[in-house]
């Protein structure tokens, strides 16, 4: 809400009020200030009188003027405006004046002719062209003859105004009016409010002879209509134009301007119909579905049964609270007005305006209106129409009134205020605050019974009054303390803590945490999975690329990797822990995933030519470390996948099983998506969370030395290493304590489609030092079993 200080001064005496003090105090009582501007921010201007005008000797389009600016000598000024003429009173910028856009006016010579200043247009003074008349758009501004030479033209034009732009909270609809603002400022500067004149002189002719009203819906509790005839449409007086300009509204003509002016004054939107187009009946009802109307902006609007409409005998003449229809628009020929001042259901107006158009009127209807101002505002409009448009108001009103006036009385005790705010405040101070706010109250010792004025729709309960007292008294009086409650240990949930630990482990393993968006595009939703699932789609997305809740984090991480690769980064290892979303039998499921993606060198020293490239086994190693940390190693399996999702390299992908349940994939990206060896994993944290983590238990350090034996087997290429390891483990129980692979060889000299794997086996007893003789039969068994079960051949032992 943009508030003109000149205008506000009509309702409350602002003499002696410093603008900085005022804005600062308004901020501290809850009204944010976006900006303070001058309507016209130029000084050093004077009114000049053009005594003579001649054509510039060197330039056809320029004139050389001799101007009286109230000094001893006439000033010679070169002017390029087409409309400049001898005898005009004009606005002169003297040398050293700074115009908007940092244009400095100097004494200059223009094509050989000296010029001591500039004759100004309003545009040059920084007035936005949308507020200018056609003449003012194309030339200098010509002042009336009667103005005095040498005086300040800005003051004369009423442009010497300060405008404060307030960013108001949505509950304070009352502040969307100059009168409401006056009450708020009054509470700060403690001065009384002067309400505007709205005395209506009615003529004897009654409205009832010309018009009937029929309200056919509960969504219009109050509707008042008046008629004004003999209207003369013309330009508005300067003060109305300036004040509307300060509020950001363009002047149209005196009649339209008055409807806007009254809305800004009272916060009550009005609508003016042309009576001659309207006919003799006005109605209010709900629209039918798919009913069509052409609004003032010449747009076809399709309505539904939630929209309130105003009608005449032929159909819709306005969408209530939002916009009028073209068919009853006030124009140059309008002679008789029907004025509407009404209250509509805010919820309906809000729905309609969201769909149709957000107007200054609808914004006010949506927040709710003061029913005591509905009549006042319509009368004020009649008063102004009489004064500035020669309008004659017909006797009486048409009125539909279903409002049940309730007087809101709230009882509040000083003790309660002090307890909630924990602030020292005297009964006298509280009483003073209610008085400044112009709230009626009765006081009994420390108890106040406050009658809330009808303009304050935001005040309904005792807490609201506590807020009023607090904000006017000033929250800086409150000294912060900590609550004195019982001592208690703060906790994380198990899930939260586990996620945190996993995150820290992955960070220790050199992965960097990223956070990506949950909303993805439709083409990303089926990537990296073969699941059949019901995805969750947004009904009103902002864009196609943020339309569906993701089912995997991998597409998003792939985008991050590609983004970084495109910026010459080569070594990328990232992870994210976040939810995926889907629907399962009407249940909305959020399942947490741990997802990582890696490419480049995991460890590098360039000058030593030393590096560990990220490959399947680096990523697998990272996961193994993580599973080991979580105590899950014994439940985890990495299995070959026959038919992986098509985004994976079919030869380099495994499914990860936890206790034989699928929890995710690890693998390389398919080379058709990216040729680089990008590896990734995605595992379900939700499934890991189903496992209770064992308490940490110390394992005694072995007392006796171990014996190590190496065995190498030649096997068929397809046989998985893990199967051999499992066989070795089983056979070697209980003395075999560890099996590792230390060599893998593939070459023709050991046969086509064969491979050689070398294992190192560690044996240890807890109670003694083992001898070679003791383990020999175990090793023989192992060799036998492996050879028989896998058609293997011992190569080395």
């Amino acid at each position: 809400m943009k508030v003109s200080m000149n205008w506000l001064n009509d309702y409350i005496d602002l003499k002696g009020v410093k603008i900085d003090d005022l804005t600062n105090k308004m901020i501290l009582i809850g009204n944010e200030v976006d900006s303070v501007t001058r309507l016209c921010d130029v000084s050093n201007l004077v009114i000049g009188h053009i005594k003579a005008k001649e054509k510039h000797p060197q330039a056809d389009r320029l004139s050389v003027c001799m101007v009286d600016i109230g000094e001893k000598e006439l000033k010679q000024i070169v002017c390029g405006a087409p409309n400049v003429a001898k005898g005009q009173k004009v606005i002169i910028a003297k040398p050293c004046t700074i115009l908007p856009g940092n244009v400095v006016i100097n004494k200059v010579t223009i094509r050989g002719v000296d010029s001591e200043g500039m004759i100004c247009s309003l545009a040059e003074l920084g007035i936005d062209s949308k507020y200018l008349s056609e003449e003012d758009k194309h030339g200098i501004h010509v002042l009336p003859k009667e103005v005095k030479v040498g005086e300040d033209p800005i003051k004369y034009l009423g442009l010497d105004d300060l405008v404060i732009d307030f960013d108001l909270t949505p509950n304070r609809g009352d502040l969307l009016s100059m009168i409401g603002m006056a009450y708020e400022v009054g509470a700060i500067i403690d001065k009384p409010i002067k309400l505007p004149n709205n005395k209506v002189k009615e003529i004897s002719n009654s409205i009832k002879k010309y018009l009937t009203l029929e309200v056919d819906t509960d969504n219009c509790p109050l509707y008042i209509a008046r008629m004004v005839k003999n209207i003369e449409i013309k330009e508005s007086p300067a003060f109305i134009k300036n004040r509307l300009m300060a509020a950001g509204i363009r002047s149209i003509n005196n009649v339209v301007d008055i409807s806007n002016y009254v809305m800004l004054e009272y916060g009550q939107p009005l609508h003016f119909f042309d009576y001659d187009k309207l006919g003799n009946k006005i109605g209010v009802r709900m629209a039918q579905d798919n009913e069509v109307v052409t609004t003032l902006d010449n747009e076809k609007r399709i309505l539904d049964h939630n929209d309130i409409v105003i009608t005449n005998n032929d159909g819709i003449i306005a969408i209530a609270g939002v916009m009028g229809a073209l068919n009853t628009e006030v124009d140059h020929n309008t002679k008789t007005l029907v004025i509407e001042s009404a209250i509509f259901n805010p919820v309906n107006v809000r729905q309609t305006s969201k769909k149709v158009f957000r107007s200054e009127a609808s914004i006010r209807f949506e927040k709710g209106l003061d029913y005591n101002r509905t009549m006042e505002a319509i009368n004020r409009a009649c008063y102004l129409l009489a004064k500035y448009a020669n309008g004659k108001t017909l006797k009486g009103t048409l009125c539909h009134n279903n409002i049940k006036p309730v007087t809101k009385k709230i009882v509040i005790d000083q003790e309660r205020i002090k307890r909630v705010l924990e602030m020292e405040i005297s009964v006298k101070d509280i009483a003073d605050i209610f008085r400044r706010l112009e709230f009626d109250y009765l006081q009994h010792d420390t108890k106040f019974t406050v009658t809330v004025p009808s303009r304050r729709l935001d005040i309904n309960i005792a807490e609201d009054l506590i807020e009023e007292v607090g904000r006017i008294h000033g929250y800086d009086h409150i000294k912060g303390i900590l609550p004195t409650t019982s001592i208690k240990v703060g906790t994380y949930s198990n899930q939260y803590l586990k996620r945190k630990k996993i995150r820290q482990k992955l960070e220790a393993l050199n992965l960097k945490q990223v956070i990506t968006y949950s909303l993805v595009s439709k083409d990303m939703i089926n990537m990296f999975t073969k699941d059949k699932f019901e995805y969750i789609e947004i009904k009103n997305p902002m864009s196609e690329d943020k339309k569906i809740l993701r089912y995997s984090l991998l597409p998003s991480l792939l985008k991050v990797v590609e983004y970084n690769l495109a910026r010459q980064l080569k070594d990328i290892y990232i992870f994210e822990i976040g939810a995926i979303y889907y629907k399962d039998n009407d249940q909305y499921i959020e399942e947490e995933k741990i997802t990582g993606m890696m490419v480049g060198n995991y460890l590098t020293n360039l000058w030593q030519n030393k590096k560990i490239e990220v490959d399947f086994y680096v990523v697998k190693g990272i996961l193994e470390t993580l599973f080991n940390y979580l105590g899950l190693t014994k439940y985890i399996k990495f299995n070959k996948v026959i038919n992986p999702p098509r985004e994976f390299h079919p030869g380099q992908v495994a499914e990860i099983l936890l206790d034989d349940e699928f929890i995710g994939y690890i693998g390389r990206i398919h080379t058709s998506i990216n040729k680089l060896p990008i590896y990734m994993f995605e595992i379900s944290l939700a499934k890991i969370n189903q496992y209770k983590i064992d308490a940490l238990e110390y394992q005694e350090v072995p007392k006796y030395p171990s014996i190590t034996k190496d065995l190498a087997f030649i096997l068929d290429k397809e046989i998985s290493a893990i199967d051999i390891i499992n066989t070795i483990r089983e056979t070697g129980q209980p003395l075999l304590t560890n099996v590792d692979i230390f060599d893998l060889y593939i070459g023709d000299n050991i046969g086509k489609n064969k491979k050689s794997i070398a294992f190192t086996l560690e044996f240890r007893a807890l109670t003694k030092t083992l001898t070679e003789a003791e383990i020999k039969p175990i090793i023989d068994n192992i060799v036998n079993n492996v050879e028989q079960q896998y058609n293997a051949k011992l190569r080395d032992r």
């Binding site: 807020e467 912060g480 703060g490 960097k512 009103n540």
Partner: protein, 353 residues
């Protein structure tokens, strides 16, 4: 005695020869020459049989003395040569210590996580529980029970992503308050903070459609605005330095009454006014207020007995202020050059606590 003299001469020879030795091989040759099985000393001792007993004794004593001396002298030279050899080897193994080390990196948290953890630790230490809730939320929990019925104009401030008429992506972490209060069947006091992702239809240099909030809620008997202020003072000082002050500006949130926007004194200019605080001396950091009686009532707490405060802050905005990030969208691009800024210990965190 001749032989004794002979030993003296041999001793002198040895000294001369030892002084010329400069490598272990020559020394070993000398050792063999004097101490070997066919060496000089052995040869001398073979001549002993021709002597009288007295002479034998005398000669034997001299010879033994000489032998021990020769061993000692040779060993001494050997030690010296060994050391020289070792030094030579070690110095040949010298490296350029100024060459760069192997890049042994660690990963690190996203800046959003860093800020959440900082806040979370403060509140955990004051006995708050960290609680989470779903991101796909009902209109009931996200709005209605928070005193925002359908059609309420304040819903405009939180333009929502709807899935259908009843389900939406939560626009705030406040529904976790509701869930926590409703789930607490015994209606005992509550102290929680709730970090999490939230979603609004908004996108520019200071808004992303997805962002992170931390919500705080305390419900107990006799909770006052002063308690809220004291708690938030601690928070502001933890995040922005121990000299910070805060101010409460009255505001409006449907679920709190009274409501406050909270500003912290600008940490860059200490309130003098600078470009960061747009010359106001204050930075807006969060919204807060006393839990609205309607909200308490809807969650089964009697507002005549219980009061509470709640606050909610945007983690991105806090991170932007704290670390000087100018465009919120950078936070979600995940450019590693941006993220690597956060692989450092935060001096502000260590020095101010």
């Amino acid at each position: 005695m001749d032989i004794i003299k002979q030993i003296e001469n041999i001793k002198q020879d040895l000294d001369v020869q030892l002084s010329k030795v400069d490598n272990l091989k020559a020394l070993n040759d000398l050792r063999t020459k004097y101490l070997g099985r066919k060496g000089i000393i052995q040869q001398l001792s073979e001549g002993i049989s021709e002597l009288s007993i007295k002479e034998k004794k005398e000669f034997g004593r001299h010879l033994n003395q000489f032998k021990e001396l020769a061993i000692a002298k040779i060993n001494k030279i050997q030690d010296k040569l060994n050391e020289e050899e070792l030094n030579k080897k070690l110095s040949s193994e010298a490296i350029d210590v100024t060459l760069p080390g192997t890049k042994v990196d660690t990963g690190h948290s996203h800046p959003i996580t860093k800020v959440i953890e900082e806040i979370e630790l403060l509140f955990i230490s004051m006995g708050y529980d960290v609680v989470e809730g779903p991101e796909v939320e009902t209109d009931l929990y996200n709005f209605e029970l928070l005193n925002l019925p359908k059609g309420h104009p304040a819903r405009d401030a939180q333009d929502s992503f709807y899935i259908n008429d009843e389900m939406l992506l939560r626009t705030q972490t406040s529904p976790v308050q509701i869930r926590t209060m409703l789930a607490n069947k015994d209606k005992t006091p509550i102290r929680i903070i709730c970090p999490g992702k939230v979603y609004r239809r908004d996108e520019d240099a200071t808004h992303t459609h997805q962002f992170t909030q931390i919500e705080g809620l305390v419900v107990d008997k006799n909770i006052s605005v002063a308690h809220l202020k004291g708690t938030l003072e601690l928070l502001a000082r933890k995040l922005f330095g121990k000299d910070r002050t805060i101010r409460f500006r009255p505001s409006y949130f449907p679920f709190t009454e009274p409501s406050f926007e909270v500003d912290v004194s600008c940490f860059k200019c200490s309130g003098e006014g600078c470009s960061l605080c747009k010359h106001t001396g204050w930075l807006e950091i969060l919204g807060s207020g006393m839990v609205h009686p309607n909200v308490l009532r809807a969650c089964g707490y009697d507002p005549e007995v219980y009061t509470g405060f709640a606050f909610g802050m945007g983690v991105e905005r806090t991170a932007m202020l704290k670390y000087g990030i100018t465009d919120i969208r950078d936070i979600y691009i995940n450019d590693l050059r941006f993220l690597d800024n956060f692989n450092y210990i935060d001096g502000g965190d260590i020095n101010e606590s």
